[in-house]
């Protein structure tokens, strides 16, 4: 079990900066994120775009801002559970929260700060009516163990890097790989596009462009997919696996069922300290809502700062927080344990 002072759900800019403000108060943080890397929307959606409204930075690339935040919080030795989604929360007999992820990792802390942004990033699922029936029975949104596909007939859909990379990789593993894409061109890296076209010429990969997968069938397990070509119409092809790769989309997910007051997909908070209706659980950044709320990075930083003051009082009810500037104290990082 992982024990910490403030358990932060979401490693976007808000969650990351909370580590710094907590560290100044000598509180330790652990972060959970369903993405494999920190940075939230900045890393996942727009790493190469400049941001112009971070105070003190006339412009900064989103990816660089995340790198800088990681550098800034490094002295306070944050720990991460990445690639896992916080699923359930309970309160134990010592008034501590126990948060368990979808992979069963258990975390415990007296304070939980939800910095979940627009929600947990999850694979986008195509609107095929019976797709849920075949999930884990042939339909999978992520390749975890490529060996699973050895000797099978695989249909991949999508036109981005992951669709092409897996097509190339699985060409040597699966017995048959078909890549279905809605148009002729691809947005993926040029050399992988070339590689796929080459594999197609050599008969190692079937390429169905101007096409979309519109139907699935099978008896308890996927056995074929229906591919619709723009001009030629539908054909059914045999498939043991269908892997749709259409990127990620944020979803509020399990946090919506944690007994917190929700309004328009966001958690209602008191702007005094960004506390929720459950004492000990806070919500900061894009995930919260209050009159006048703006979903901006700088607002998340402010919210994280005030939240930490309140968290300190909760964790150390009999101590006083003495407020000091960093210019006075410097950064006194945590020693290795």
């Amino acid at each position: 079990m992982i024990q910490t002072d403030i358990l932060i759900i979401g490693a976007g800019p808000t969650g990351l900066f909370a580590v710094f403000e907590a560290g100044l108060l000598r509180l330790k943080c652990h972060l959970i994120d369903s993405l494999p890397q920190p940075g939230g929307q900045l890393t996942e959606i727009y790493p190469k775009k400049p941001i112009y409204d971070i105070p003190g930075y006339p412009d900064v690339l989103a990816g660089d801002l995340v790198d800088n935040l990681l550098k800034q919080i490094a002295p306070f030795k944050p720990e991460f559970t990445l690639g896992e989604r916080a699923e359930t929360i309970e309160r134990d007999n010592d008034d501590q929260f126990v948060v368990t992820t979808n992979k069963g990792t258990v975390h415990r802390a007296p304070v939980v700060a939800i910095a979940g942004g627009l929600g947990s990033f999850e694979p986008r699922k195509p609107p095929i009516s019976n797709i849920a029936e075949f999930e884990d029975k042939g339909v999978t949104y992520m390749v975890r163990n490529p060996e699973e596909f050895r000797g099978s007939k695989v249909v991949i859909a999508g036109g981005g890097d992951s669709a092409l990379d897996w097509t190339i990789y699985l060409a040597d593993v699966a017995s048959e790989v078909t890549l279905v894409h809605r148009r002729e061109g691809f947005r993926a890296a040029l050399d992988s596009v070339e590689k796929v076209r080459e594999l197609n010429r050599r008969g190692k990969v079937k390429l169905l462009t101007s096409s979309q997968v519109i139907g699935l069938s099978g008896n308890g397990k996927l056995s074929s997919v229906v591919v619709n070509h723009k001009k030629m119409g539908g054909t059914e092809i045999d498939a043991d696996y269908f892997i749709p790769l259409f990127g990620l989309i944020p979803k509020l997910g399990p946090i919506g069922d944690w007994g917190l007051e929700i309004e328009d997909n966001a958690i209602k908070v008191d702007t005094f300290d960004y506390s929720t209706n459950v004492p000990g659980i806070y919500a900061i950044g894009d995930i919260n809502t209050y009159p006048g709320k703006l979903k901006l990075i700088l607002c998340g930083f402010h919210e994280a700062t005030l939240m930490c003051q309140s968290a300190y009082k909760r964790i150390h009810p009999d101590k006083k927080v003495s407020f000091k500037y960093t210019t006075v104290t410097g950064i006194d990082g945590f020693k290795d344990e």
């Binding site: 959606i45 727009y46 775009k49 627009l118 986008r124 699922k125 195509p126 609107p127 999508g158 036109g159 981005g160 894409h181 809605r182 148009r183 061109g185 691809f186 947005r187 979309q212 723009k230 259409f246 990127g247 989309i249 944020p250």
Partner: protein, 112 residues
């Protein structure tokens, strides 16, 4: 102040359930179709705020309008959308100007 009617266009948008929204939109406020649909209370997530970096404002143009595009960024993002047709566009890439008067659009299915 009198609002000059010549500075607005009229358009019609249908949501995924087929409900009709009659929208009057100003042409001089640098708005796009995604923003006016969202502003009319339609269920458009607009995760990326209008930078062609998500595909949550995927629409079909039903009227005869053929606005310029889609550009390369828009095509790339449409690759992440579903049920993409020849008349598919991202609403955020369609600037509201007088050429769009009478536009009719429908929100595309979203997947889940």
């Amino acid at each position: 102040m009198v609002l000059k009617m010549s500075d607005t266009i009229n358009m019609v948008a249908y949501d995924r359930e087929g409900n009709e929204y009659k929208i009057e939109a100003p042409t001089d406020m640098n708005l796009n179709v995604m923003e006016v649909m969202k502003g009319s209370g339609m269920d458009v997530k607009a995760t990326c705020g209008g930078m062609a970096l998500c595909s949550t404002c995927h629409i079909y143009i039903i009227s005869d309008h053929q606005p310029e595009g889609p550009g390369e960024d828009e095509e790339d993002m449409l690759d992440q959308a579903f049920d993409v047709e020849d008349n598919s566009r991202l609403g955020c890439q369609l600037k509201i100007d007088s050429s769009l008067d009478g536009l009719v659009v429908k929100l595309a299915p979203q997947g889940s």
